[in-house]
């Protein structure tokens, strides 16, 4: 933020000042953005210009989406006079318009091949902070950009970037509830199931290889596991009951889910590779929506054992059961942040659903109010962003919100619910 203030003084330009205010508004205190300049790449002869344009456009769009990286505004970038004979002077000019880092890219290629050499200059020290070489076909230009953007986010946050991440969800746009998957920003929607039945509750394996979900495909609800890249489907549980709400253990070896005979619903665990399910809870009413903690040691879930649906937690073996929520009239759909400290969940305020968070160290509860009903929170793999479902526009749609709480609608067709976010699909 200091460098942005300096920028305002150095340029004293109306455009620059306006740009500053935009940055300040979307940046919460204590969460500073790193400002990176991404000028046009140098193209060696033979490089496919369309692929180069895709790569640079995708990279700038990705970096512009992050909460941790800010791009030098186009207005300020125009003020920089590039001196090819004196790169050091050019870098100083980028620093003068507020850039802390400069991404220097060289593209080469022949035929369908594309090679990107990227260097990130730390403009404060004058050193190269990061250097990478990517090689692939021109068809992978966007993937190359996403991969580079992910590495930059990782460099500045220590967490994986979201740019190759996918969100699985349930959509009724075809007339039946089917599983779909899309890129994290809502683009590239793909239909995964065509069962013309009811599909619910998608949950990714941590490696993005498998998707567990509930389907009424064979009449009564059963728990299935699907390999999206290979159209491979198998049944994980056909026990009596609802067979719903799968959640993978962090090692990917087990799936917690909810089912039970005779009207009771309890938490069970089944090997992801198939095998006999083991019952973890012995409640008399409803225990459902298990959510495995990131360290694998605990499972949060919803139970109505106390009268209304509330969040509970237990060790992964079913021991040390205790209640987590006391201030809510309704608490459901627990979702662990990757840090293992914060739970997002669905609460009820008045007669509407709202997203809330619970800090497990302090017990502090925070409601994130929004228009309409807001439910089914789901963390981005890096834990900086929440996806959730809202009916604020009249139909039920998936939104993502940045750490400042600013929401963006990413689905439009039909009703779209139950987002499940994974870093990368294998």
């Amino acid at each position: 933020m200091r460098s942005l203030a300096a920028l305002g003084i150095a340029l004293a330009a109306a455009t620059a000042a306006a740009q500053d205010e935009v940055y300040l508004k979307v940046t919460t205190p204590g969460l500073s953005r790193v400002v990176i300049a991404v000028p046009d790449f140098t193209l060696r002869p033979g490089t496919d210009p369309a692929a180069a344009s895709t790569l640079l456009g995708t990279l700038r769009a990705d970096l512009g989406e992050t909460a941790v990286i800010g791009l030098v505004s186009p207005e300020n970038a125009k003020l920089v006079v590039v001196d090819p004979a004196n790169p050091t002077l050019t870098r100083q000019r980028w620093r003068a318009v507020g850039a802390q880092f400069l991404l220097d890219g060289n593209l080469a290629g022949a035929g369908s091949q594309l090679v990107l050499e990227a260097r990130l200059w730390d403009l404060t020290s004058g050193e190269v902070a990061f250097s990478r070489r990517f090689q692939g076909t021109i068809a992978l230009a966007a993937t190359m950009a996403h991969t580079l953007a992910n590495e930059l986010v990782h460099l500045f946050t220590g967490r994986p970037g979201p740019f190759l991440s996918r969100i699985a969800f349930v959509s009724d746009r075809t007339g039946a509830k089917e599983l779909w998957v899309m890129r994290w920003d809502g683009s590239e929607e793909q239909q995964l199931t065509r069962y013309n039945s009811i599909a619910l509750a998608p949950a990714w394996s941590p490696d993005g290889e498998w998707l567990a979900f509930t389907s009424f495909l064979r009449g009564s609800p059963q728990l299935f596991i699907l390999r999206p890249t290979q159209e491979y489907l198998k049944v994980l549980s056909a026990l009596p009951g609802v067979n719903s709400s799968p959640s993978f253990s962090p090692d990917g070896k087990s799936v917690a889910f909810a089912t039970g005979a005779d009207g009771v619903t309890d938490i069970f665990v089944v090997p992801a590779a198939g095998g006999p399910p083991e019952r973890l809870t012995h409640t008399l009413g409803i225990s459902t929506q298990p959510a495995w903690s990131p360290n694998g040691r605990q499972i949060a879930f919803t139970s109505n054992a106390g009268g209304s649906p509330q969040l509970y937690i237990m060790d992964a073996e079913g021991t040390n059961l205790r209640r987590l929520t006391f201030e809510d009239t309704y608490a459901d759909e627990a979702a662990w942040a990757p840090d293992g400290i914060t739970l997002a969940y669905t609460t009820r305020v008045g007669d509407r659903f709202q997203i809330a968070t619970l800090d497990l160290r302090t017990g502090a509860r925070t409601v994130i109010p929004g228009p309409g009903n807001n439910e089914s929170p789901c963390w981005s793999p890096d834990g900086t962003v929440l996806a959730f479902v809202s009916d604020r526009t009249g139909s039920r749609q998936i939104f993502i919100t940045d750490p400042t709480g600013h929401p963006r609608q990413i689905t439009t067709r039909g009703n779209n619910i139950q987002p499940a976010w994974v870093a990368q699909v294998q």
Partner: protein
């Protein structure tokens, strides 16, 4: 949906009146065809074993009820399962918000269902548990399961063989009415009894 009429008829059920005619049709408020005349009275007159021995003048109206197996009456039921369901022999049970306990009106409806099922032992039913939209999808799936089994348990307690009854939960996935207020929600908080075999 002819919601208000449906509501008034339900109020009748609340008073303990077992209606002879198909009362509150299920999804569509279709005026149901009259059941076979011989079948209808049977609903109110369970078989009485002592009846046959001492009466000088046999009651002329009671005929099918004397068949303990119920086979003849099954034959008189509409052959088509869909028609059978539309005829409204079985009444649904309705619930309070987020509850799976049977209300008095639900018990009355199910008592009538139990009597009819015992007279038609070849009939098989599925009890579908349904919910309004005011819980999350997956909680509602569990709630609907509880509702369906609450009705099954009650029917079994009234003497209906458990083998006649299957249960399933649809949660909030198959609403009967789709608006977003109580005028629709009460209709969706129900056990819907569906005949699957005659």
């Amino acid at each position: 949906m002819t919601t208000p009429q449906c509501g008034r008829l339900l109020a009748g059920v609340l008073l303990g009146v077992v209606l002879l005619a198909p009362a509150c049709a299920h999804r569509q408020a279709v005026i149901a065809p009259e059941p076979q005349p011989a079948t209808a009275p049977a609903v109110t007159a369970p078989p009485s074993p002592g009846q046959t021995s001492t009466t000088v003048a046999p009651e002329p109206t009671i005929t099918p009820a004397e068949n303990p197996e119920g086979e003849i009456k099954s034959a008189e039921l509409p052959a088509d399962i869909e028609q059978l369901n539309k005829a409204g022999y079985l009444k649904d049970a309705f619930f309070d918000t987020s509850k799976s306990e049977l209300r008095p009106d639900a018990r009355d409806a199910l008592a009538g269902d139990a009597a009819w099922l015992k007279q038609h032992p070849s009939v098989k039913i599925t009890i579908e548990g349904h919910c309004d939209e005011r819980n999350t999808e997956e909680y509602n799936l569990a709630l609907g399961w509880r509702r369906a089994n609450a009705a099954k348990d009650y029917l079994v307690s009234l003497g209906v063989p458990a083998s006649q009854i299957a249960t399933i939960s649809y949660g909030e996935e198959r609403p009967f009415a789709t608006c977003h207020d109580e005028s629709c929600w009460w209709q969706n908080r129900r056990d819907h009894l569906v005949i699957t075999a005659r």
